[in-house]
């Protein structure tokens, strides 16, 4: 019998600290698989965010850096400019990329830095206990919006991918989901293209991944997957944006 599916080499064989059913584990694996397939393990440098994925560097078996909250793209800019031969990617959540780091994100994208951004959107702050994020959906209940998000009080869900796609220097933006094996395969293709763009010097590439947070959505892991497909993907439509 031949082994047809195994752990990618770039992923360490240790247990993650994520909750059962969390999408970060899947996203970590996709990145590790892409790094293996493109054979860039010796060249790649990841920039970990602040958020649930703050110790992502413990799980990937390649070089990583840590950034202050929201500043992953600023750190990535510095690394890429000093070491242009390396492949730099940032791995950021919605609280990191779309809230505290909006400034760094928009300006790095506007400068057209040749880096890859993996943006994990789970519509909530996971690490700090389930508070409302800019990407939280209308009427979604969180600990800081117990009656649901209301547009008059809290505004609308921030669609950072569409905002970034409107910038001239941004070359590739795609939104994918982790809600089923089929979508995960699509997500991997998008992640691979985003890395390939950087290798080919095309420019700023961003992949937004809709990811489940069963713990703070107060759902079972399967219900969270269904909720992404039925509710979240309606507000954040999947597909290539640019």
């Amino acid at each position: 019998m031949e082994k047809t599916f195994k752990k990618p080499q770039s992923l360490r064989d240790i247990s993650t600290h994520y909750c059962p059913g969390c999408g970060h584990g899947i996203a970590h694996r996709l990145i590790a698989e892409v790094v293996d397939e493109l054979e860039i393990r010796e060249r790649v440098i990841g920039v970990a965010p602040v958020g649930c994925a703050v110790i992502a560097y413990d799980y990937w078996d390649f070089d990583c850096s840590e950034a202050a909250h929201g500043r992953a793209l600023a750190v990535a800019t510095g690394i890429k400019r000093v070491r242009p031969q390396n492949i730099i990617f940032t791995y950021q959540g919605d609280g990191d990329l779309a809230a505290i780091g909006t400034n760094e994100t928009i300006h790095a994208a506007n400068r057209g830095e040749n880096v890859t951004v993996i943006f994990i959107n789970n519509a909530i702050y996971g690490m700090t206990g389930g508070q409302m994020a800019p990407t939280t959906l209308l009427a979604q209940k969180t600990v800081t919006s117990p009656e649901g998000r209301q547009e008059r009080l809290h505004g609308y869900p921030l669609k950072i991918s569409e905002i970034l796609a409107s910038l001239r220097a941004v070359k590739y933006v795609e939104r994918v989901s982790l809600d089923s094996p089929k979508e995960i395969i699509e997500a991997k293709k998008a992640v691979k293209l985003a890395f390939q763009n950087q290798i080919d010097n095309i420019g700023f590439s961003l992949v937004e991944i809709l990811s489940p947070c069963p713990t703070y959505w107060d759902m079972s892991p399967k219900e969270a997957m269904d909720w992404i497909r039925d509710v979240m993907a309606k507000e954040f439509p999947l597909g290539r944006i640019k």
Binding site: M1, E2, K3, T4, F5, K6, K7, L11, S15, T16, Y18, C19, P20, G21, C22, G23, H24, G25, I26, R29, S180, P181, I184, I185, P214, S220, P221, K222, M225
Partner: protein
């Protein structure tokens, strides 16, 4: 004939693999792992989770087609597939 191997110590019991197995060949282990969680098991008994309904007829694990759906959805990379 295909088969899967589950790392029961890494399993966190999210049960996503059970939901996505098209053949219903993954069930719950009756013993706890070191985390104190009931991990999943590649088992003949198509178990379970839907509201604790009793298992239907016993199924042979030789029905496994090696589609890797369980391994692709597993957030903790606990499943290896052989074909």
């Amino acid at each position: 004939m295909a088969k899967i191997v589950i790392n029961r110590e890494k399993c966190k019991g999210c049960l996503l693999c059970i939901s996505f197995c098209p053949k219903g060949l993954i069930g719950l282990d009756k013993d706890l792992n070191r985390r104190g969680i009931k991990p999943v098991k590649f088992s003949r008994q198509a178990n379970l989770n839907k509201g604790g309904t009793p298992p239907k007829a016993e199924k042979e694990t030789s029905d496994c087609i090696g589609c890797s759906m369980c391994a692709i959805i597993c957030p903790d990379c606990c499943i290896e597939v052989y074909k």
